[in-house]
Subunit: 186 residues, 2 copies
Amino acid sequence: MAVTADQIVTAAIHHLNEHPTASMAELAEAAGVSRATLHRHFSSRDDLLAALGRRALERWQQAQDAVGLTAAAQESDGDRLRDTLRELLTALVEVADEHGFALTDHAMGVNPDLLHRSDELEEREIALFAAAQRAGVLRADLPVRWISNTWYGLLVAVRESLRRGDVARRDVAGLLVDTFFEGTGS
Amino acid sequence: MAVTADQIVTAAIHHLNEHPTASMAELAEAAGVSRATLHRHFSSRDDLLAALGRRALERWQQAQDAVGLTAAAQESDGDRLRDTLRELLTALVEVADEHGFALTDHAMGVNPDLLHRSDELEEREIALFAAAQRAGVLRADLPVRWISNTWYGLLVAVRESLRRGDVARRDVAGLLVDTFFEGTGS
DNA sequence: ACCATTTGAGACATTAATGTCGCAAAAGAG
DNA sequence: CTCTTTTGCGACATTAATGTCTCAAATGGT
């Protein structure tokens, strides 16, 4: 098989990141595949979009697993919690940049399965935030879900910064971590 | 005239905030108007979308003007700059909530006129951020455009928080200002 | 009550994307 | 080399939304 389904998904994500309204024909071309072959792999557009969503969630979960999120959420040591947050944020930079369009796209919010998995991953992070609050690493006076949405919003800022070339790729993780913890005031 | 163009724009914004892919027929219904009448006011879908964009930019500019952004950007007094930032952020909560879908929608990024006006408004804020950096109100070690994107990202967080009911409407401005300046770390 | 204007309803043509199919060419396994 | 599978290409039907048009109803001002 010259081009696998995974490769099509990758190409589609890359293309949709720059052309969010691309048609199936465009996505086929971007993957270097005919429209018929694209339909052989993904029977419908929704099917393809769902695969993109699954890929994004998969990467997100991998980032969580790589830093041992679940174990860390049981942690009470502040320094280790802070490190976990830092590492996770750094790992999520790549996810946000690579799968960014899934971050804001509307087509994602209609698939109950994806929505459910997304909620689960979010809850895992929220558990980490709550642990960090208990350990005094994150402010306890902020609603934990506000922290979660802040976290998400800053990833949108990352994506936008990279897309527009506002900051160098090698600097962005540091800025993100720094801003998340310290804010912009001096 | 029972229903004005402005009222249609208002209804369309409200509807699109919850149903981002709504058709012209849906938008007509949401405005309590026939499809024909909708087309009498806005000859095409792009025309309507452009009107929504103009409305959003208008509100954004009003928020800037209301706090005297241009004058403040010439300011060197830290306390006053901080106040201006606070007031602007507070005013933008409403804009983000009301015109939020324009914040992330792709249809907006293709109209050169809107894009140009949007860049102008953004540059005005960047001038304010730069003044705040010089006055020691905002950290000078952060790229000013990163601050701008952070600002934007936090407004996305506001919109999301309100949409999901994660935080009370009366609390959100305070959380936003607080998080912007101080971050989430303790 | 009368007239001018606006509206709603429905029909219509157009357009663009989607998904299906068949067949010939190409690729790959043995 | 041969046979099997996969691919590309083009044609096709379907669908959904868009934008235009006409005409009768109703709205509103005087």
